[in-house]
Symmetry: C2
Subunit: 196 residues, 2 copies
DNA sequence: TGTCTATATGAACATACGTTCAGTTCAAGA
DNA sequence: TCTTGAACTGAACGTATGTTCATATAGACA
């Protein structure tokens, strides 16, 4: 879509996505116009269509990109299972850390699901389920080996993810509690709530 | 704004709010037009302005009404403190039950905050804080009397509320788990995560 | 130097928006 | 029967929307 030699830009595409991400997170997908995005990029609205098919694709690319990055980052952070307790601790700390670094993307990823059209929703939903299954697998494994005592692993999965993702509504770098403290406190709570 | 004797309606106002609530919950405030709401009510768009000042007030009234009802219902459900453990259990069961009955209103109340204008946001934010303080007070009380062991009551409050409110993303009446089961499982998890 | 092409403009398209308002309808009270 | 007034319509208001496209610009390569 762009490029041939080292021409002008190559960074305008990313700048469009960055502007869209900030605006979507702040005001919501439906409330943001292509003209507002263009203004933030420093370009006219028509030029955006050199970098995205349409507004819907802009949203979809952001969400898909975020979730793929999340899954990759987990693989990198914890490539092999060690044991249920260790895996769970790694997951809790990873989730909080990763999400603290990407507040806008996280916010969009679970606030704007209803603005995806059907096909795009299926893709994003699939990726989200994949991530839930990471935690689900850890809990199930711990339950089977008697290390955890959760009456219903599916429900516990959702409960823990909701609790962890809730951190994003209030955590800010430089706030009252630093990241490691938050991770440790949440790890305590999660461990207590599932340990046998 | 309406009425004098038993004239025609008196129920059209509520019907407008009901239609708005369903549509806002399903598609988001910004994505719903006054004409769509009117269509669901069975009336032309102009007629809506007999029952609401403008679209913004429609949203504000829904959110304020929901939160006021929530606070009242808690007072009714648990008017006096019994003890930290009993209060917390009552809160967990109440929260899950109340929210299961009002999924649309709950969804709107924490998805559409950013679409409130400044004054309305302050009011709603105040009511939300009041409700958080209910749980915050219980946890602090339990911490002070040594019944709970939470390193940070403010953080624990937010963590527990996030976990409980997360129920709304998947719970449906008639689903795999009935309401009492869900309440009991969550109560177990919450108790374990804060008990000394 | 001249050509090519990615990058961008800015005007235009049809459609939709929230809101207002003059006018119509019609049941109830006198 | 006539009057009143609340309930409602339907058209209009100005503005905004997502998207397209003919046209301009200007840097890279031959």
């Amino acid at each position: 879509m762009a490029r041939k030699t080292g021409s002008h830009s190559d960074i305008t595409g990313p700048r469009v996505r960055a502007a869209a991400q900030t605006l979507f997170a702040r005001h919501g997908f439906a409330a943001v116009s292509m003209r507002q995005i263009a203004k933030d990029v420093g370009v006219q609205a028509g030029a955006l269509y050199l970098y995205t098919k349409d507004k819907q694709s802009l949203l979809f690319d952001l969400m898909k990109g975020h979730l793929e990055e999340l899954l990759e980052a987990w693989q990198l952070h914890h490539p092999n299972s060690i044991g249920p307790m260790e895996d769970l601790e790694a997951f809790v700390r990873f989730h909080i850390g990763f999400h603290a670094d990407r507040q806008e993307a996280v916010f969009i990823a679970y606030m704007e699901l209803r603005n995806l059209d059907d096909d795009n929703f299926s893709v994003v939903e699939g990726l989200r389920k994949q991530y839930e299954n990471v935690l689900g697998g850890i809990l199930k494994n711990g339950q089977d080996t008697g290390i955890f005592a959760v009456p219903d692993t599916k429900l516990a999965t959702l409960a823990v993810i909701a609790m962890l993702t809730g951190v994003n509504t209030w955590y800010r770098d430089g706030g009252r509690l630093d990241r490691e403290t938050v991770q440790s406190i949440y790890w305590d709570m999660v461990r207590n709530s599932v340990a046998a």
